[in-house]
Amino acid sequence: MPNKITFCLTVVFTLSAAVAAIRLRNPVHCALSAALAFAGLAVAFLGLDAEFIAFAQILVYVGAISILSIFAVLLTRGTEVEPTAAVFSRSWITGIAITLGTAAAILVPIFSSSILYKIAPAVASAPVQMIGTELMTHYLLPMEVMGLLLTSALIGAVVIAMSDRPEKKDDSSHPSVTRYPSAESKPATKRDLTTV
């Protein structure tokens, strides 16, 4: 019974954090709630005896991905949301309808399936040593491919995000002016401390 209570608390925590992450106006708040939701998911993994995955989940999602998205928000001035600007897309009603359809298409088969009555083995554990051995034997090729993928993603991300200003140096003597062409193309969203 305590197992179920813990699980229900985890579910409430994770889902409310996830809903907050897609509902809040300020993208920084969204990214922080997303970190909470990922941490809640890690707790659910702990309940399934997958220690290593739970810790890896926290390490990667909370420590890297949410920080990365916060950086992206700040670098794209995402926090300067006007109080009246819409944060949901014009077709959000259609989106919600499709979402409900998808949720039904997932949940109805799950709850009508016979797999629900499967009894879990009393003990199931994946010690780190076993995971390591498997990675180096059965899953050696996928692991190599993963290494290649991560390397290329790293290089690709750096190349894409790298500033291409040096090439444009000949066009104008003031590259910073060409990057932000005029005041009117960029709405005056700069939050003024004195007027808040």
């Binding site: 220690e51 290593f52 810790f55 890896a56 926290i58 390490l59 420590g63 920080i67 780190v128 040593q129």
Partner: protein, 391 residues
């Protein structure tokens, strides 16, 4: 002697025998929590006063010496001052995040102590992947630093937070990579088993990882990365007071400031404890005949010695510039940790073919050769330093 070694374990079992069986897991956890908070809370108070006194001695002044005998009650006075100060929240601040940031920094750090083995049979929880747990809970501090800096709505806070995050992400890579040789050679991620793997003695000297070439190099790299990870001088740019007031702490006062202070010291204690466990043999005695001394005393002796090194470094090394800091991490420390992993592999596979001394010299030679080459390569484009004002 064994009874003195296990005195805390026995004490815990004796106390637990008064707890009903149903509540024994909870009781055990509570006892461990109380012990950890008491010990490291005291260590925090002691470290603040010793650090101020040590820095004073380095800078040729007495340091705090007014409150209590030799000034040793100064932490109490500081605590009273902190707690009675007004708690100011800036008008433009994001109130919720401003409130949550010190909590997010301080609470997860306590969790990291749960997996450290403080003595024989003295770790609060036994986890299969305890070192991954340690780094996972440590990753919350980056979020806390960002929350503190961004929610204050102050440009110095934001600059400090961005510096802090960039620094912590950059140095987390070498911090984790420098532990990899230890994990490879011990064949486990469990800190207790890593300590057990170092418990042997050869010629009466403990078989600590730091006495091998990859261990010595890894220890130095780990300590450098740990200094940066805990935002201490010479890597204290996030709160460099001569440049950006106090960085992300600028808008904090009173109890919240004290919590940040506590969190930073606890982070330092946690990585120091990890360094002792991974490289300095954990609770093992350095010499075989010293085994009579209780194991927890050895752990805390090594711990104190490493803290003293941190204080010494803070008093002697000047602060880096930010580009120097990041270049140092990505161009120098990270390649060296990668080479160190290769050296550990060579060490492992040469054990059947070569004598110990030969093996030691070859591995050390490879690492030092790469160190020299990398250093020369990085300083190729630089002209010799010229001093304009000092001759």
């Amino acid at each position: 002697m064994n009874s003195l070694d296990q005195i805390f374990v026995t004490l815990k079992q004796w106390l637990l025998s008064y707890v009903p069986t149903d509540f024994q897991p909870v009781g055990s956890a509570l006892l461990s929590i109380v012990a950890i908070i008491a010990v490291f809370g005291t260590a925090f108070a002691l470290t603040t006063i010793l650090e101020r006194k040590g820095l004073g001695r380095i800078q040729n002044r007495p340091g705090p010496n007014r409150v209590g005998p030799c000034g040793f009650l100064q932490p109490m006075a500081d605590a009273v001052k902190m707690l009675t100060k007004e708690d100011i929240v800036p008008y433009a601040a994001d109130k919720v995040l401003h409130y949550l940031a010190p909590i997010v920094l301080t609470v997860p750090i306590w969790l990291a102590f749960a997996v450290l083995p403080f003595g024989r049979n003295m770790s609060a929880i036994e986890l299969d992947a305890s070192i991954v747990f340690f780094f996972a809970v440590g990753s919350a501090s980056e979020l806390a630093v960002f929350m503190a800096g961004w929610s204050s709505h102050n440009k110095y806070s934001l600059i400090g937070a961005m510096r802090g995050i960039a620094q912590m992400i950059s140095y987390e890579v070498p911090l984790v990579l420098s532990t990899v040789p230890v994990l490879m050679l011990s064949g486990t991620l469990n800190l207790n088993e890593i300590v057990n793997a170092q418990s042997g003695f050869s010629f009466g000297v403990g078989q600590w990882n730091v006495f091998t070439p990859w261990g010595a190099a890894g220890f130095l790299l780990f300590m450098i990365a740990a200094t940066a990870e805990s935002n201490r001088a010479p890597f204290d740019l996030p709160e460099g007071e001569s440049e950006i007031i106090a960085g992300f702490l600028t808008e904090y006062s009173g109890f919240k400031y004290a919590l940040f202070f506590l969190g930073e010291y606890l982070g330092l204690f946690a990585v120091t404890g990890l360094a002792v466990t991974l490289f300095l043999g954990g609770w093992n005695a350095p010499l075989a005949f010293l085994n009579v001394v209780p194991s927890w005393l050895w752990f805390f002796a090594k711990f104190g010695a490493l803290i003293a090194v941190f204080i010494w470094a803070r008093g002697t090394v000047p602060r880096l510039r930010f580009d120097q800091l990041l270049n140092f991490a990505w161009k120098f420390i990270v390649p060296l940790t990668l080479v160190n992993i290769a050296v550990a592999g060579i060490w492992y596979f040469s054990s059947d073919h070569l004598a110990y001394a030969v093996r030691w010299l070859i591995c050390a030679g490879i690492f030092l050769g790469f160190y020299e080459l990398l250093g020369r390569f990085l300083s190729l484009k630089r002209a010799p330093r010229t001093y304009r004002y000092a001759e």
